[in-house]
C-alpha cells in the first residue's frame, strides 16, 4: 500500500490537489517541460512517472486508468503513442527537476520539470537488479544518476551510440527550441579534438531536453 501523503494538500482540499496534479501532468505531457514551484514539481514527479509507466504498454485497461487523470484526448494519444514508447527500455526516472531562480512576486522557489531525452537501456534484469549490480553495469548505473537532479547525467559522449533523438520529439520541439540556445550549448561543449560530432550531439541533447 502506498504511504499516504502527509501534511496539507495543494489548493487546500484533496479534490483540488487531484485537479492540480492532473492539470500539471497534462501540461507536462503536452509541452514536455513546464515551470512550476519546486514543491509542486516534487509532488508531480512520482505522479507523472506512474502515468508514463502505464503508458509504456498500450492496452485498454491502461488507457482507462490513465484517462481518469489525463482527460485531454490529444494529450492521452501523445502519451501512449510517443512518450510511452520513447521510454520503453528506461527503468524509471522519466522526468528531471532543475531548480531555477525564485519567483519575482513572492520569492517562491521555482523549478523546471521536464521529460528526459530518449535513450536505450539494457533490458536484462536492470529493473530488479540490486544496487551493487547496478553500479557494476555502467548503462544501468546511469539511470539513478539521471533521476537525481543535483547529480548530472553521465557524459553523453560516453553513451552516444545509445542516445536516440526521435523525429517525434524534434517535431514537438518546434515551438520551444530557440536556435541561439542550442548554439550556446554547442559552443561550450566544443572540443578541438572532436569538434563537429560534439556540436551535433549537444544540439540533439538540448532539443531532446526541450521536447
Amino acid at each position: 500500500m502506498p504511504t499516504p501523503t502527509k501534511g496539507p494538500r495543494f489548493g487546500g482540499s484533496p479534490a483540488h490537489q487531484r485537479l492540480i496534479l492532473a492539470n500539471l501532468a497534462t501540461s507536462l505531457f503536452e509541452h514536455g517541460q513546464i515551470t512550476t514551484t519546486e514543491a509542486k514539481a516534487r509532488r508531480l514527479r512520482p505522479y507523472a512517472e506512474h502515468l508514463i509507466t502505464k503508458a509504456k504498454v498500450d492496452s485498454v485497461a491502461n488507457r482507462r486508468q490513465v484517462v481518469r487523470v489525463i482527460r485531454d484526448r490529444s494529450v492521452l494519444h501523445t502519451l501512449f503513442t510517443e512518450i510511452g514508447p520513447r521510454f520503453a527500455t528506461r527503468p524509471g526516472g522519466y522526468t528531471r527537476i532543475t531548480k531555477i531562480n525564485p519567483r519575482k512576486g513572492d520569492n517562491a522557489p521555482m523549478a523546471v520539470i521536464g521529460l528526459v531525452e530518449a535513450k536505450e537501456f539494457a533490458t536484462t534484469g536492470a529493473k530488479h537488479s540490486t544496487p551493487a549490480a547496478k553500479r557494476a553495469t555502467p548503462v544501468a548505473a546511469s539511470a539513478p544518476a539521471e533521476v537525481d537532479e543535483a547529480t548530472d547525467p553521465p557524459a553523453d559522449s560516453a553513451t552516444a551510440d545509445g542516445t536516440v533523438t526521435t523525429a517525434d520529439s524534434a517535431a514537438d520541439d518546434a515551438t520551444t527550441a530557440p536556435t541561439p540556445d542550442a548554439e550556446v550549448a554547442a559552443d561550450e561543449t566544443t572540443e578541438p579534438v572532436e569538434g563537429d560530432a560534439r556540436d551535433e550531439e549537444a544540439e540533439a541533447d538540448s532539443e531532446a531536453d526541450k521536447a
Binding site: T35, P154, V184
Partner: protein, 61 residues
Amino acid sequence: MAVPKRKMSRSNTRHRRSQWKATAVTLVECTNPACGAKHLPHHACAECGQYGARGDRRQVI
C-alpha cells in the same frame, strides 16, 4: 487580557531592530565559458539558462 505594563522605549525598539541583519547569499560562477555570471548553487543560471557540469551542460530555460 494581558497587556504590556510599560511603553517600549525608542531605544529598546531600535536596539532590537538593529539585530535584524541580512546575510549575503552564496553564489557560484556559471561554468558556461560564454556566460560566467554568478548564480545560486544547484540552480540553473538565470543569464544563460543552462544547468549541469562542465562539458555536460543542458539548456533548461
